[in-house]
């Protein structure tokens, strides 16, 4: 297992085949007589030649080098790597959903449209907004769509002077990127000592040239913004709007709604909070919700219900337009719909309860051993600092994260948020039992012991993986992006 898997080109044997076809029973025609000349290859493709078992073993071995939430604890902060129930997968594989073609038209897609309509209704209720678009393909896409809606709203009012978006220093990096992509200048707002948005800094930054503020609540420190209603008053008081980044929605599911906190635009990550597989690049789903005044600006089309039929509503002249081909990542929508139905309202509330309970339990187990810069009841995640270990024995947070792999855990998010030195951002999620949390805490404490007694051992971890420490610098400076045949 613990060896580098060769690329299939390197194990190719000339003439080896996965299957043997019967002899042709029709006359063979030259390829050149069937295809236009410019479409023909000048050189052979040189595809690898392998037997079926070679191929199966190759891909099975590759899959086993992966780490998955189905395999072990995955406390990657802010990513909400909860277990994804398999009944969601069952639902998404129903042929009526899995084989639906986006061009078959509303008439032949009534079931799919009903699902989209009902999911929209559910998300609207869960978030306390007035309407939702299911189109955005993932979180950052939802952010961009939301900021475009804010821009469309201000422009529609003839207010062209707003060129800035405020973003707290604890924000996910995607927030400033989305605001900049939508054409805004980003202004950073500092946090106070409790980890909340600093209200004085906010008052100073807020003027009639600010289009809005982007907030994650709870924020990336895992802390609930205690002054959120004051933040809303300050921003609304100067004509700005509030954007809610749903990255940490797991913490408040069924407990408090962004709409009730004063948010005007929100996005959710269905692939996080509503339990669909993610990591490794998708597919995700980042629905955007808005309050009453922003409804006309939602992307088209929306699904509406007319009697007992469902249809696409394309005629929305103030809409920001279409933000994705067809109707979003439909398979993810099916999984989220199945999840919400199977959990029910009470079940979703339990998600938030257990996610917060698990995080606080783990924090209590670890706070004696590690520096806890913001020592407050946390929500679904918390941020430790490895500074104590780093200062005493020179073992960094990176080293300790690497060492966790030897205990069979996925490392937490490290060096984020930026406001905490040597940060370790741990999100256990609601699906882990007490025993897992105990074993994880014990592992991290053993690593801290090791950092004192045998720092070299931690600095060279992991010792059980087939590659210990990839050379990230060389990989970034001289990336090898594709395999090339050696001449």
């Amino acid at each position: 297992m613990n060896r580098l898997e060769p690329v299939s080109f390197d194990t190719s044997v000339p003439g080896r085949r996965g299957c043997v076809l019967p002899p042709l029973d029709v006359a063979e025609k030259a390829v050149a007589s069937l295809l236009p000349g410019e479409m023909l290859r000048r050189e052979p493709a040189c595809l690898p030649e392998l037997s079926e078992v070679d191929v199966v073993r190759h891909f099975t071995r590759l899959s086993q080098k992966n780490f998955a939430v189905d395999e072990g604890f995955y406390p990657l902060g802010s990513c909400t790597m909860k277990y994804n129930p398999k009944c969601n997968e069952d639902a998404a594989r129903l042929p009526g959903f899995a084989l639906a073609h986006p061009l078959q038209g509303a008439e032949f897609s009534q079931g799919a449209l009903r699902l989209m309509y009902e999911l929209t209704e559910m998300l609207t209720e869960i978030t306390g907004m007035a309407g939702v678009s299911l189109q955005p393909a993932a979180g950052a896409h939802g952010e961009l769509t939301g900021i475009m809606i804010i821009r469309a709203y201000h422009r529609h009012r003839g207010d062209e002077k707003r060129t800035k978006i405020l973003i707290p220093d604890t924000a996910h990096g995607t927030n400033p990127a989305s605001a900049a992509l939508a054409g805004y200048d980003v202004v950073e707002v500092a946090s106070d000592r409790r980890g909340n948005v600093d209200l004085d800094a906010l008052r100073e930054a807020m003027d009639d040239r600010v289009a809005g503020i982007m907030l994650t609540n709870p924020n990336t420190l895992g802390l609930f913004e205690e002054t959120i209603t004051d933040v809303a008053d300050i921003v609304h008081g100067k004509g700005g709007l509030l954007y809610y980044d749903g990255a940490n929605f797991n913490a408040i599911l069924g407990k408090v709604r962004p709409g009730d906190m004063g948010f005007d635009v929100i996005h959710l990550n269905l692939h996080k909070s509503f339990s669909t597989p993610h990591g490794g690049g998708g597919p995700g789903s980042g629905p955007v919700g808005v309050g009453e005044t922003l409804l006309p600006f939602l992307p088209v089309p929306l699904v509406r219900k007319c009697g007992d039929r469902y249809e696409f509503d394309e005629d929305r002249p103030l809409s920001v337009g279409k933000v994705r081909s067809f109707y979003g990542n439909f398979g993810v929508l099916v999984r989220a719909y199945a999840y919400i139905l199977s959990m029910g309202a009470e079940g979703l509330r339990e998600v938030a309860h257990n996610a917060v309970l698990n995080a606080n339990y783990l924090m209590a187990l670890l706070k004696e051993r590690f520096l806890l810069p913001y020592d407050r009841t946390c929500k679904h995640e918390f941020v430790l600092s490895g500074k104590r270990q780093h200062d005493s024995g020179g073992v960094s947070t990176l080293d300790m994260a690497k060492a966790l792999m030897d205990y069979g855990f996925h490392p937490p998010t490290i060096y984020f948020p930026l406001v905490v030195e040597e940060a370790m951002m741990i999100e256990p999620t609601e699906t882990e039992g007490k025993e897992t949390l105990d074993v994880f805490a014990k592992a991290l404490c053993s690593i801290a012991d090791e950092a004192e007694k045998n720092p070299e051992g931690v600095k060279t971890a992991p010792h059980s993986t087939f590659v210990a420490r990839p050379d990230e610098t060389a990989a970034a400076r001289k990336p090898v992006l594709r395999w090339r045949r050696e001449e």
Binding site: D391, Y415, E472, T473, A476, R477
Partner: protein, 133 residues
């Protein structure tokens, strides 16, 4: 360990260095900056011909830790960039003061009076390092 500060150059509190000769200014990032950033993997050079004002985002230096904005220490027009950094960004780490990023044709050479002298920057760096322990 104290970061190196080179005599005779001007500096900013955001850790750019400047060598002024007449109306021209060579600009780079300091030894303190390269140390804080870690291994540099890419330097996004500014566009030749671009006009910048003192304090503007000037270019981006990417390191293994993240992307770092470099601010224009003075106002002027970019007349030349150090293409060698495109293929060898590691030079910023190896020799911060030998690796200029761009040359500015200054619109107001008197602005350089607002920059830190090397002695003042040395004190500033020592103070920063003491605070960060």
């Amino acid at each position: 360990m104290m970061a190196k500060v080179q005599e005779g150059l001007f500096y900013t509190e955001t850790h750019e260095w400047v060598r002024v000769e007449g109306r021209k200014a060579w600009i780079g990032v300091t030894d303190f900056a390269q140390h804080a950033m870690g291994d540099v993997v890419y330097v996004e050079l500014p566009e030749v011909g671009r006009t910048v004002s003192k304090g503007d985002d000037f270019c981006v230096v990417e390191s293994v830790k993240g992307a770092n904005d470099v601010y224009a220490p003075l106002s002027g027009k970019v007349v030349e960039v150090n293409d060698a950094l495109e293929d060898s960004p590691e030079r910023v780490n190896e020799d911060a003061y030998g690796s200029w990023i761009a040359i500015l044709e200054l619109s107001d050479p008197s602005e350089s009076a607002q920059l830190l002298t090397w002695e003042a920057y040395r004190t500033f760096v020592a103070e920063t390092e003491r605070k960060e322990g």
